[in-house]
Symmetry: C2
Subunit: 428 residues, 2 copies
């Protein structure tokens, strides 16, 4: 497990999406297991739809919430994405229903099914369907069976509780090897506010789980428009700075529900309270992003790439992403090979304006830091020391472009045999 | 070995870069083996620098040639690229010297060494250094030892012969599992002309062999400016339509030498003869491109993706490349899994203007063709038939965007355990 990174003004607390006041959650196994799975299927071969694994979750706020969301930019948009977009037009929601195993994407009857999921949840919770956020993750292009969901929803709602985050987070996992949840407390308007989130990562297995779903709850009182603004700012620096394999899914969604139960004065402008809220959102999404990268399919290491000295922040992002998405470099990190030529190569083909003769690169981890390139030339460094550094779980690539004040940090992971194994599996 | 694809007006012949009249070649082992290799190193672990493997090649034309080249777009440019660019400014060359194992890139003394290689070749061949094209492929950022090259060049030149293409093509191989050479004959100005080429592929191992080098020779009489024009047109449709792992190297080069020995009237304009020359160049580079893709690191299959119905050819290229560079899709092809959801997903995130509700996709091979998506929705196809189709070595993905007359064909390969093994190896 990678370490949590602190953010000023935020204190880590337990509880994930149930950490904030007034939020309940639950997760159950409703039986959406992949059609080809049986009780005999070895667990390690079929982490998705493992018999008995939770596959349906619900999050509920006791009172209506201001809500905002961001969605995949893929032109192929799964049915739940289309339905949720419609439901959030009024900036209001009170519950989430989400399933794993089946993405409900590229199906002729997908919209109807996603709407039906909202109706089922609304009936059980005595809400309007328009107050429900719906999400799915799983195989693209397979008809979603509604029966198991319909049968499970009443019990799922009945069982909502203040520690239900642990069952809910399991229900959204696909190839994730670890549940991912983070919560923090901060102060706004003199009141202690809590903000927590859960995320399913870039597990994209069996065969199409190309989905990142993130759910954030908070008791901070804040207007929907400002949640949207903070989300846009923070996602740009966190979830959008992760790359596991460069594929953008049809189902990606991140949503925030704010019920105001903390009792702080409603945040309606870009005040210091707004900035604190945004920092808390950053603390949660940044740490979830790091965990997602570390838990990328088949990954054994988190790669954090910090690029500075760029003419603009945008250039720094482009260069850092070019490095962490290079298959050659990712495979070298897996092999714990301080392959700085591949880093220079990836910097060189990044579509950005830079002077390679000014580029410095160093590699670091808890074992120390070693410069490997200076002024665009490979240094004669100690392979032994480099190997020791790369033996750690968290690897830092530090790039200096020597060309200005722009900088960025992005996260990725190594490329391993297991990535190929997981994604080369047959569906049957 | 993938099949050769015919082009109208061109007849395949043997001989690679020695097929055209007046060209000689040779390849030897000069001893550039990687510093850490010994006679005890298992061959399969160290295909580069295997003791005794050819690592130095020469191509020579008995008479001066019109010449043109294209180079990597990476901002990090290896020393031989910089030297060759200078030498080809006058559109004239008569010989090529090329080594494998060491890329001579990102080294402080790289330019001096690349110039020295030209001087050594010029001395042995009684030419001017400016008439020499120099190229290197291998590890980035390691000092190139000149001594083995200096010692070998006289014998290399002495041994130049009309069947030397077979030794030369071995010398440029790195992780290539097969030598790649193609030659064709065509008629221009009533004379039979010959055009042949050799290529080293996207083998990028141990650890930085991210280099595609291509050398083409022809006895067709044609001006350098027109060679350059044809090269630009043809490379755009062939070498630039291949992706093995998305990394663009520091050393890529393709060059053409034309000595006019066929006796055809000099081609100086865009006549029918020019078009025939361009078609022959296309036949050679397209077939080499296919072989390169099939022989991508660790690959077991060639994926040919044909996209039609795009608003422009450019859109078709963008969409087809998005599909063949998707790690998820590439891994699925390795697993022979007809994972059409991943194809739709990759089409959806391609940065191009298209309507996903109009997209049809089919998969094909020598075993037949099967539609898998229609109007953006996944079809209920026979998994058995799909698996049979994907069991072949050459897989065709046919995408129709239903939006116009633009089309393109691009080539890639599957993503396999061996790709990770090869690129995760330590350098020591």
């Amino acid at each position: 497990m990678v370490k949590r990174k602190a953010v000023e003004g935020c204190t880590f607390v337990e509880g994930g999406v149930c950490a904030a006041k007034g939020f309940l959650a639950n997760g159950v196994h409703c039986g959406l297991a992949h059609k080809a799975l049986t009780a005999e299927t070895p667990k390690e071969d079929h982490p998705v739809g493992t018999p008995g694994k939770n596959d349906l979750a619900m999050i509920f706020s006791k009172t209506p919430c201001a809500a905002a969301a961001m969605y995949t930019t893929n032109k192929v948009q799964a049915a739940p994405i289309q339905v949720t977009k419609r439901h959030l037009r009024n900036g209001r929601a009170q519950a989430v229903i989400v399933n794993s195993v089946n993405a409900n994407a590229c199906n002729a009857d997908g919209i109807t099914k996603a709407e039906k999921m909202c109706e089922l949840a609304a009936d059980a919770l005595q809400l309007e369907p328009e107050d429900i956020i719906v999400a799915s993750t799983g195989v693209i292009g397979q008809t979603l069976p509604l029966e198991p969901i319909a049968a499970a929803v009443p019990g799922l709602a009945e069982g909502l509780n203040e520690k239900g985050n642990t069952e809910a987070v399991k229900a959204i996992m696909t190839t994730d090897t670890q549940p991912k949840e983070i919560a923090v407390q901060f102060t706004a308007g003199g009141k202690v506010c809590t903000l927590g989130g859960m995320l399913k990562g870039s597990g994209m297995i069996h065969p199409n789980m190309a989905t990142t779903l993130t759910f954030v709850t908070t008791d901070c009182a804040i207007e929907a428009a400002l949640i949207q603004q903070a989300l846009r700012e923070v996602v740009a620096l966190t979830l959008n700075h992760v790359s596991v394999d460069g594929d953008t899914s049809t189902n990606d969604m991140v949503c925030v529900l704010a019920n105001g139960a903390a009792g702080n004065p409603l945040i309606t402008k870009e005040t210091a309270d707004y900035e604190m809220f945004r920092d808390a959102l950053y603390a949660v999404l940044m740490n979830l992003a790091r965990r997602m990268a570390r838990d990328g399919e088949g990954a054994t290491k988190l790669i954090e790439c910090f690029c500075e000295g760029a003419d603009t922040d945008e250039t720094a992002v482009i260069v850092a992403k070019s490095v962490i998405t290079s298959s050659l470099f990712k495979a070298a990190v897996f092999g714990e090979d301080a392959n700085c030529g591949r880093i220079l190569c990836a910097i060189g083909y990044a579509p950005a304006d830079l002077d390679v003769s000014q580029v410095d690169v160093s590699l670091g981890s808890e074992k120390g830091t070693i410069p490997v390139c200076r002024k665009g030339l490979v240094l004669d460094f100690s392979e032994e020391k480099a190997k020791e550094i790369l033996g750690e779980e968290e690897i830092l690539v530090h790039i200096s472009l020597g060309n200005g004040g722009g900088n960025a940090v992005v996260w990725g992971c190594d490329l391993t045999y297991d990535y190929v194994r997981i994604n080369g599996d047959y569906r049957s």
